[in-house]
């Protein structure tokens, strides 16, 4: 199995895990792990072999042994054979052709999601071009609800990310208000706390709760502390909307994050019990990113994109409101430059959507990567064309706490403008009602502050409109 003779050379890839790694488009993390193809020919040879692998083979040959890894057990045990039936006769190559066809419409794609495994979708993504990843992802529709409706057609939501280097309440509030006045925050108002301190986490939770309450904003809050910290906060009675956690695609990598499926299950139940959602009960927020498993030395010989797709099996189990691939955050050791970051972001979105997840993307880069604003504009635009669920909104694209560049409030307005995308309907109504957006979802000319926020700002300046 897994052999080919091509261009006068013979290749024997031996295992499915190895074949997957060799077939992956080039990226620095796979070279670092020593699993990447040695050259272009080996990569293409692997892609040819991979295209002929039956999808059923992924159910028979686990990439990490069932006995040793709870993520593998989750994938196998929860596989839905009935949902899988319509595509079970395909090879990876046939699957690609079918995904691109008219038969694979939104309804059909939704119905097969539970029958697909992360490895199947990772495999097919490896033989797809950017336009294929975009075209198929755009046909997927994943709708989730808490206080708003996320993921409707022709909508793009934003996470307002008002981070501050010391979690100073007024500092957070300043960025928060700036974001709201730029129409940002329908996916979630989500703060990365500067420390994993329970006290600081609770303080931020109360503050976000009070702001959302006071200004009747149809959105939800999240403080991105470790799941165990959030659990403690819930125990103490703090107002938790969404429980956050970073997750990865192997048991060992999750160990290094200090989590396992049981802890996530416990947190999920605790959040459900609070019943704080008004429209729905999707109450988890997960973040992922290619390279995190290798970073924890826990990739189990897999390539980083396959590891990433397996993290989506973990996410899927807990019916999240939002899943965010923080694609460029990890640094150039894993995704070297703009080209690698762009492709990875679109792969992640495609894989997540096909598996039935509400995929957002932190279109981002660090200052030690070979990337710049032009690269981000390309990923942002392509991600939105692909029907991406949400992006980040960071003041001026500069996160002053996490020290990386993401997308700005202006970026969200740009992409909504050029593609005619709207915010979540409940949030859209709120923006229009308070004179932040006009009926065409453009920012209103601000000769005066919206009445809703006028008192708060005027207190600072002692009156007047300035």
């Amino acid at each position: 199995m897994y052999k080919i003779h091509t261009a006068k050379l013979s290749y024997d890839f031996k295992t499915l895990r190895n074949l997957m790694a060799k077939a992956t488009p080039p990226r620095s993390g796979d070279y670092l792990a020593g699993v990447a193809a040695a050259n272009n020919l080996e990569r293409v040879a692997a892609q040819w072999v991979l295209a002929d692998v039956p999808l059923k083979q992924f159910l028979n040959e686990a990439l990490v042994p069932y006995e040793q890894d709870e993520v593998t057990r989750l994938i196998i045990d929860e596989h839905d054979g009935v949902a899988f039936a319509p595509v079970s006769h395909f090879t990876v190559g046939d699957f690609r052709d079918w995904l691109l066809s008219e038969q694979a419409n939104t309804k059909v794609l939704t119905s097969i999601a539970a029958g697909l495994t992360p490895e199947m979708v990772a495999a097919v993504s490896k033989i797809m071009r950017i336009q294929d990843l975009i075209l198929v992802a755009k046909k997927c529709r994943v709708i989730t609800r808490f206080r708003g409706t996320i993921g409707l057609e022709n909508r793009l939501s934003t996470r307002l990310q008002p981070n501050h280097p010391t979690d100073n309440p007024a500092g957070v509030a300043a960025s928060l208000l700036d974001g709201l006045l730029y129409g940002c925050g329908d996916a979630v108002i989500g703060i990365n706390p500067a420390s994993d301190n329970l006290e600081a986490t609770s303080r931020l939770l109360y503050m976000l709760n009070d702001v959302i309450d006071r200004y009747a904003i149809p959105t939800q809050s999240c403080v991105l502390a470790h799941v165990t910290t959030t659990l403690k906060a819930i125990e103490q009675g703090a107002p938790v909307d969404l429980v956050f956690q970073s997750i990865a695609g192997t048991q060992q990598a999750n160990d290094s994050f200090g989590i396992n499926l049981n802890v996530l299950h416990e947190a999920h139940l605790a959040a459900l019990e609070l019943k704080r959602g008004t429209l729905g009960n999707n109450c988890m927020y997960f973040e992922t990113g290619q390279g995190s498993a290798l970073s924890a030395n826990a990739h189990e010989g897999m390539d980083q994109q396959t590891c990433e797709a397996r993290a989506y099996a973990v996410a899927r189990k807990f019916k999240p409101l939002l899943v965010n691939t923080v694609v460029g955050f990890i640094g150039p050791e894993y995704l070297y430059d703009g080209k690698q970051i762009i492709r990875a972001g679109l792969e992640d979105h495609f894989c997540g959507k096909l598996l039935g997840l509400p995929m957002g993307c932190d279109v981002c880069y660090t200052n030690h990567a070979e990337a710049d604003q032009d690269d981000m504009d390309m990923l942002l635009t392509q991600f939105a064309v692909a029907g991406g669920t949400f992006i980040m909104g960071v003041p001026g694209a500069d996160d002053v706490m996490l020290n990386y560049q993401s997308t700005s409030f202006h970026d969200a307005l740009y992409v909504r403008q050029v593609l005619g995308l709207r915010p979540a309907p409940e949030f859209e109504r709120w923006l229009q009602q308070h004179g932040i957006f006009n009926a065409d979802n453009q920012l209103m000319a601000q000769r005066q502050l919206p009445a809703l926020f006028k008192p708060a700002v005027q207190k600072l300046t002692g009156g007047g409109n300035d």
């Binding site: 960025s175 700036d178 500067a194 050791e333």
Partner: protein, 261 residues
């Protein structure tokens, strides 16, 4: 270039974030776009400025402490950026250098690594150590020389702690340079650090130590709390929560700000 600002620009007093920037249409203004490019250029260049180890040694020696300068297997900056694994392992010469130093009875090791921002270490390491080291001595901890590591990642501290069989491992490291804070220092604390065994889940992190971030005093308070708690429960990491002010009531947690007064 026009200097357009939003009506709420007075909020800038509360945060270094790029808020109330105004707009051209709904896009970024020319001025803001160029200011961003300028900051990016500075941050990009900051990544590649090497740390002046001789100066750092002098600074620490002047506080009355000895130092040992070591290198990882990441021999140059390019390799350091692309091979994080090499930045976690000491070079052969560093290992033999360590072996020449007696490894008796150390309680804590203090490690300073350049990381991704030499500027952070240049500006913050000595002033912070001036506060930290006397505190450690006051606890009657046995301390080996402060180890300064060239091209080091966080986990390099484990190798040093291993060598001295130290219970407590404190690593000061330059964090990835941000646009607005190219000089941010982080501290990682690990109890019973073991090279190749300790993972991120075993560490506690105190980040964003810089002029717009955490002060030395605030960082020290957190670190001493973690040290104290770790000694008590004999672990560090995600299970060790920084609960410095656990006794506040719900009303005290409802801190007031201008949006909620």
């Amino acid at each position: 270039m026009t200097d357009s600002k939003d009506l709420w620009h007075s909020l800038n007093q509360f945060t270094p974030a790029r808020i109330a920037q105004g707009r051209a249409g709904m896009s970024q203004t020319t001025r803001n776009s160029l200011e961003f490019q300028l900051a990016h250029a500075l941050a990009r260049d900051a990544v590649n400025i090497p740390l002046d180890f001789a100066q750092l040694e002098q600074g620490i020696n002047a506080l009355g402490y000895t130092t040992l300068t070591l290198q990882t297997q990441a021999e140059n900056q390019r390799l350091y950026l692309q091979r994080p694994d090499l930045g976690r392992v000491l070079s052969a010469s560093a290992v033999s250098c360590l072996q020449q130093h007696p490894s008796t009875q150390a309680d804590a090791v203090v490690v300073v690594a350049d990381g991704l921002s030499s500027k952070a270490i240049e500006q913050h390491a000595v002033p912070f150590l001036r506060l930290l080291l006397p505190e450690l001595q006051a606890k009657t901890y046995q301390l080996p020389p402060v180890c300064l590591i060239k091209h080091g990642r966080v986990a390099i501290g484990d190798a040093v702690a291993d060598h001295y069989a130290a219970r407590l491992c404190i690593v000061l490291i330059g964090e990835r340079p941000g646009l607005s804070s190219p000089d941010s220092m982080g501290i990682y604390f690990t109890y019973q650090a073991k090279s190749g065994i300790s993972t991120d889940a075993d560490r506690n992190c105190i980040s964003n130590i810089h002029s717009n971030g955490l002060s030395y005093e605030q960082a020290l308070k957190k670190l001493l709390f973690l040290l104290h708690e770790a000694e008590k429960c004999q672990f560090s990491g995600v299970a060790l929560k920084d609960e410095t002010t656990e006794t506040t009531t719900v009303n005290e947690r409802r801190q007031i700000n201008f949006l909620l007064d």
